[in-house]
Amino acid sequence: MNYLQPERLDRLAREYALGTLVGPARKRFERVLQQSPAATLAVGVWQERLAALAHGVAPLQPRAAVWAAVEQRLFAAAPSAPAQSAGQMGWLARMFSARSLGGALAGVLLCALVLRIQPGLIGLEPQTETLPQSYVGLLTDTSGKASVLASSRRQGRVLTIKLLQPIVVPAGRVAQLWALPKDGSAAFPVGVLPASGSGTIVLSDTSEKLFFNVARLAVSLEPAAAQPGATPSAEFVLSGHCVKLW
């Protein structure tokens, strides 16, 4: 069969690009593709047309673990930052290693930012001018100066952290973020903050589940990252309201 006869080539390229060419016919055409620039080009033209149909698909933010896994699989042999502590919370320490801060964690924020600033990049126009339903916390230091901005989508599992001023964390301590429930029950640990810049904290559940009944967020300087069930062992150095943005 002459695959390169123009009409036949266009039909096969079209079905191949769409995904409706299946079984042995697909395998045969893949062999043609390897040898024929004309066939590759014909498929490319159809892929370009079909990509236009992706414009309406709503973006879905991957969890931070996806990028972490990509890095792990590709670059694990050459770790660029040592784990800062061992034990059960070692993964958390690794998440906050220097490179990850510039990377995996800030990334969720950047990804969202890029799409917000450049929606035309992938044909996504903002669907609404209003901010998404989110939980937001603004923490101030004891002098009332704004220090930390924490935000997370209502159904999200990532808390985005932006430090408005660096936190002075003594050696051997970590800046532990706590959530304080409205009913006055014990504070529970959320995660460890970076000392400066920005980052994200992977939450143990959705924001809605964790923060629905939370009135305030606070930070204490703990000797180590708090385990689930732990309570603050030091005074709060930062605190602020946790509010629903809807």
Partner: protein, 191 residues
């Protein structure tokens, strides 16, 4: 920040093993690409696996990216969509027992706005070719939408729309022809 030209430049750097560029490509495109994989697989976990696999390919295959053949976004979409469709077809048999949707996934899956016919309408509106495509019948549009967004093959489309196989094939073909005509008429740059 990251236009298609910038993405092409970043991919060229990825081909030279630039990890920072690789990460920038991921950050700029991950949410859109996961959305596409999720439409096909309807399961966040599996869609995220596909995204992960896809970026392994991006790292190893960036040198094979040809700007003359596809825009960077189209190239990335193809990698992800093909992997998602492969995962969908290879997982068909076990789907019944392993189909677990998390809460967020359920919300997205049930979202009327994200059903294939609506997605097609939205995409065409954004491309400003909706009036041109209005010449297609509802079934032709639906057939095209099921093939593209859900990764269905002709037999599945025929089943879903309760039509003979030959008819379903003709609907898809007609939908594609119309899409080609409308995009060319509008001079749309697709990605």
């Amino acid at each position: 920040m990251t236009s298609n030209d910038d993405l092409a430049a970043l991919l060229a750097r990825v081909a030279l093993r630039d990890r920072a560029a690789f990460e920038q490509v991921y950050r700029a495109t991950c949410a859109h690409l996961l959305g596409i994989a999720f439409r096909v697989l309807k399961q966040r976990e599996r869609a995220e696996e596909v995204l992960q696999e896809s970026f392994m390919n991006v790292w190893h295959g960036a040198a094979g990216y040809r700007p003359a053949v596809a825009t960077p976004m189209t190239w990335l979409i193809n990698i992800v969509r093909n992997k998602a469709i492969d995962a969908l077809r290879s997982g068909k048999t076990e789907q019944g027992s392993t189909f677990v949707l998390d809460e967020e996934a359920l919300q997205v899956a049930a979202d009327e706005q994200q059903q294939p016919p609506q997605l097609l309408d939205d995409s065409l509106t954004r491309l400003k070719i909706d009036s041109c495509m209005a010449g297609l019948g509802a079934q032709q549009r639906q057939a095209l939408a099921l093939a593209y967004y859900s990764g269905m093959v002709h037999t599945e489309i025929a089943d879903a729309l309760n039509a003979p196989l030959g008819t379903a094939k003709a609907w898809v073909r007609r939908g594609l022809d119309k899409l080609k005509g409308c995009l060319e008429a509008a001079g749309v740059q697709s990605a």
